[in-house]
Subunit: 135 residues, 2 copies
DNA sequence: GCTCAACCCTAAAGTCGCTTCAAGGTCAAC
DNA sequence: GTTGACCTTGAAGCGACTTTAGGGTTGAGC
């Protein structure tokens, strides 16, 4: 029997995160001792770890809920899992693309200032203040 | 004299965003008409557009505050501007790197499932449930 | 038996950057 | 004078937690 901190450590998250997952229904309410403490066993830790890994892969709480539901129905086809994963990949790729455009714009801005002049001659602030798009 | 919706349109954001920026101190309290309406002129719109452009570049509200303060002191050296920008570039690059690792892990997961079997044989869920790190 | 640190509990508020809502007042055209 | 599109405020909602406040429990050392 593990306390909440033990379980959290085993799944590499924090105790308050575990309480949060329970509150939002990702984890079933934990067994309680007479003192009111939550206690966990290996299966609980596995489930917590599953949640944690899915979260680390960027799945939303709602998607993790879906993944858990799917994992609990072993005989259904896994098409839905593939779909969730594909959506997640696309979403990550979209974010990367956006951030790359951002990075380019920022680097162009960096080249607009060769350092070492007063703010009123700074190409960076000029670009921010200017209504021209930052070609 | 522009109303808040006019000013927002001119700077390509929403009226409620303008109110929000005023509330958090990015914009000085607007002049008010006898009816209580906020009214804006070209200079206000410029400042709003400055804020909006900086936000689009991913700067936090706090960093935009710093940028505005710098823009308001035209005779100081622009080193601080360069520093803020460099930090922003690094932060974006860090996020891109993280997302790329995520993308790779997700794609490896995708290859673990060739589709079309029941959930209990799905390599994706197996990997999520498994305590092995996803090499 | 006492004390202390290190845990546990809950409910509520804070984070970030807005957006949305509720409930009202104003304005301009018809 | 009646629409409908604007304006005002304060408060709540979003996502995924984290932090805080205010309390109870445990276990080790003395």
């Amino acid at each position: 029997m593990l306390t909440i901190a033990d379980a959290a450590r085993a799944a590499a998250c924090s105790a308050s995160t575990v309480r949060y997952y329970e509150r939002v229904g990702l984890l079933a309410p934990a067994r309680r001792g007479d003192n009111g403490y939550r206690y966990y066993d290996a299966a609980d830790v596995e489930r917590l770890a599953f949640v944690n890994r899915a979260r680390e892969l960027g799945f939303s709480i709602a998607s993790v809920r879906d993944l858990l539901r799917l994992a609990d129905h072993p005989h259904e086809p896994c098409e839905a899992v593939d779909t969730l994963l594909a959506e997640q990949v696309r979403s990550i790729q979209g974010r990367i693309a956006q951030l790359r455009m951002l990075e380019e714009r920022l680097q162009r801005l960096q080249r607009a200032c060769n350092g070492d002049h007063p703010v009123n001659e700074c190409g960076i602030l000029a670009a921010l203040a200017d209504s021209q798009p930052p070609q």
